[in-house]
């Protein structure tokens, strides 16, 4: 069973995502902010995929990506964010080799999100 880390400061969204993904047969962990996500990444907790919001208070999604790169940890990531925020980080994300297919825009049809997740995990 694949384990997904949902990083979103909006609790209701995190809950919806968890409920859905669990229904779809994933194991889900929630980090309510960037700092918590970084903390989890520093542990040995096995994470197959991270579903990452960009705009969060204090530690933003992009900081999480930078830290992950710094500690040389490779977790597959789908960025789930508003399009304005994605644009804001467009160039930076490109530098870290994230492509447009790694980004899913809010509000997203849950099944579209599922497709993106499955594609990233390379499961049919």
């Amino acid at each position: 069973m694949h384990k997904i880390l949902v990083v979103d400061d909006e609790q209701k969204i995190a809950n919806i995502l968890r409920e859905f993904l669990v229904k779809m047969g994933f194991e889900v962990m929630i980090a309510p902010g960037g700092a918590e996500a970084i903390a989890i990444l520093h542990t040995d907790t096995p994470i197959d995929l991270m579903l990452l919001d960009m705009k969060m208070p204090r530690v933003v999604g992009f900081d999480v990506l930078k830290e992950m790169k710094r500690i040389n940890k490779k977790v597959k990531t789908v960025i789930l964010t508003g399009s304005v925020d994605a644009d804001l980080y467009h160039d930076d994300l490109a530098k870290l080799d994230y492509k447009s297919e790694d980004i899913v825009y809010k509000p997203v049809d849950l099944f579209n999100l599922l497709d993106a997740v499955k594609k990233k995990l390379e499961i049919a």
Binding site: E10, I13, K23, S83, K106, P107, L110
Partner: protein, 532 residues
């Protein structure tokens, strides 16, 4: 000194007249036949002609008609024998000034001549007055030049006239000419001092030239126009400035210009100079006024655009902020609805309601996305593309779907269009919008004609539909965000198109008439202007 021509077939009469008029100080020439009289009338200029009605060969009436044709200002006094009074009266109708019956009382003749001369003088004064009136009757330079040269030819009995003026490079050019060919008019440019015209403009002196230029030492180097018999060239001077020259020529008229002609031509020239100066002032003034008017229009257009783009910028900011705030709640609404729908619901109405919530939240999302698209400054990638290929991409995409609606896409792609640097994705968004608009305008099918071309540093793309067109009111509002005539329209399509075209420094023009279809024309400069 007045010149008198006597035409009579009786040598005695001729001699008597010649003698007694000569004594009174007139210059008299004589002819014994109508033919000879006409030859003399053609070659010399006479103030008065005494003409016998009964002549062998061409008779007096015919001679009268011809004299009036070749030299209309020569006053003719008819001499009639007894019994030809009726003819004499006829002659008055044909332009004779008076008639006198034979035998000729010399005093009466002298008196008639005096009166005829007075009338002639009056006629000349009137002619000059007419000139001054005519010359100031128009402010249009071209009309004026024609009037001046026509009058100069008439008053000076010339058959060719040219007016030359200075151009911006201080060269004389042919501003108006009767006799010169178009090619000569086009090509002639004379510097100050060059040829006769240049010499006159430089020296500010009028010249009379007789039999070409051969007898004037000042111009012995210059080869003149061969056909000219005699010619006058007069400077046009206003307030010490030389404006140009007036040249009048006699090509077919044998008689040479006289000092009196030169005097008259100087009067004409000074009137003409005044009028030409006025006309050119007027022309400058009107072009300044025209320029001011244009500037005003440009200014107000710029102002409009400025306020339009300021509005868009403010709107863009608002929309971006709003979109951000709305996205999360929308995500929660649609996600919750979707999750609920995945539960087993035994209540069709509830299920239906949840479905509605989900669908409508998706619609709200679309609106937000479109709002964002047109409002935010795009950060896309500019690439060099073949505009036809890019357009074709979208045309293919919609074509099948259009075919089902009986809409045909006609391609009129320009050949050899230069490649152009655009944000292709964005431009394709524009094409897609315009295709959809055209489609919506043609409910019963029709044709969309795509035309691409290249002109003047721009690529031009035209979308022409055969749909219902728009009323003026609709047309006036279509670029306002949220204005729509469609049931499910957002009112953002065209504002977005305009916004994208603007980021390419381009223009979008919408031509439409109710019932006659709509054409949207986009022009994008090949050279992208620096982004502001």
């Amino acid at each position: 000194m007045s010149r008198i021509l006597v035409i009579d077939d009786e040598p005695d009469v001729v001699q008597t007249l010649s003698h007694s008029l000569g004594r009174r100080g007139y210059v008299v020439e004589t002819a014994l036949t109508g033919e000879d009289g006409l030859v003399k009338a053609r070659s010399g200029r006479f103030d008065v002609a005494l003409l016998d009605i009964n002549l062998p060969g061409i008779d007096g009436m015919q001679v009268l008609e011809q004299i009036k044709t070749v030299s209309c200002d020569t006053e003719v006094i008819m001499i009639t024998g007894y019994g030809s009074i009726e003819t004499a009266v006829d002659s008055l109708k044909k332009g004779a000034y008076d008639y006198i019956q034979k035998p000729i009382p010399i005093e009466k003749i002298a008196l008639a001549i005096e009166k005829a001369l007075e009338r002639r003088q009056l006629a000349e004064t009137v002619a000059l007055y007419e000139i001054s009136k005519a010359v100031f009757s128009t402010m249009e330079m071209d009309d004026l030049l024609k009037i001046v040269s026509d009058l100069a030819m008439k008053v000076l009995r010339a058959d060719d006239a040219t007016i030359m003026l200075f151009d911006e490079d201080k060269k004389l050019y042919v501003a108006f000419s009767h006799g010169l060919s178009e090619r000569v008019k086009e090509e002639t440019r004379l510097a100050l001092g060059e040829r006769i015209a240049g010499w006159v403009a430089m020296s500010r002196q009028s010249v009379i030239l007789i039999d070409g230029l051969s007898d004037d030492t000042r111009f012995k180097e210059i080869k003149g126009r061969e056909a000219i018999k005699s010619s006058m060239v007069i400077p046009l001077i206003k307030n010490n400035d030389v404006l140009g020259i007036l040249a009048v020529n006699r090509m077919l008229i044998e008689e040479n210009f006289s000092k009196i002609d030169l005097y008259k031509s100087n009067i004409i020239a000074s009137l003409a100079s005044l009028a030409i100066d006025n006309a050119s002032l007027y022309r400058n003034l009107s072009s300044t006024v025209e320029e001011l008017r244009r500037t005003l229009v440009e200014l107000s257009t710029a102002q409009q655009q400025l306020s339009q783009s300021a509005k868009l910028a403010a709107l863009g900011k608002l929309v971006a902020d709003m979109a951000h705030e709305v996205n999360n709640p929308l995500m929660i609404i649609s996600g919750t609805a979707q999750l609920s729908l995945m539960e087993e619901i035994n209540n069709p109405m509830l299920e239906n309601n949840l479905q509605t919530i989900f669908v409508e939240s998706r619609r709200a999302k679309d609106i937000v996305q479109r709002l964002l698209k047109f409002s935010k400054p795009s950060k896309g990638v500019f690439t060099e593309v073949d505009i036809n290929a890019s357009l074709e991409c979208i045309a293919c995409l919609v074509e099948n779907q259009f075919r089902l609606k009986n809409i045909i896409i006609r391609r009129n792609y320009g050949a050899d269009l230069p490649r152009i640097t655009v944000e292709d994705k964005q431009m394709q968004e524009v094409y897609m919008n315009l295709f959809n608009n055209a489609c919506d305008a043609m409910e019963n099918g029709g044709t969309i004609t795509l035309t691409t071309s290249h002109d003047d540093g721009h690529i031009r793309i035209a979308f022409e539909d055969t749909g219902g067109g728009m009323s003026d009111e609709v047309k006036a509002s279509i670029l306002n965000p949220f204005f729509t005539t469609k049931e499910h329209g957002t009112g953002l399509g065209l504002p977005m198109c305009l916004s994208i075209v603007k980021t390419h420094s381009g223009e979008m023009d919408i031509q439409s008439q109710a019932g006659k279809g709509t054409t949207v024309i986009i022009r994008i400069p090949l050279k992208r202007q620096a982004e502001q």
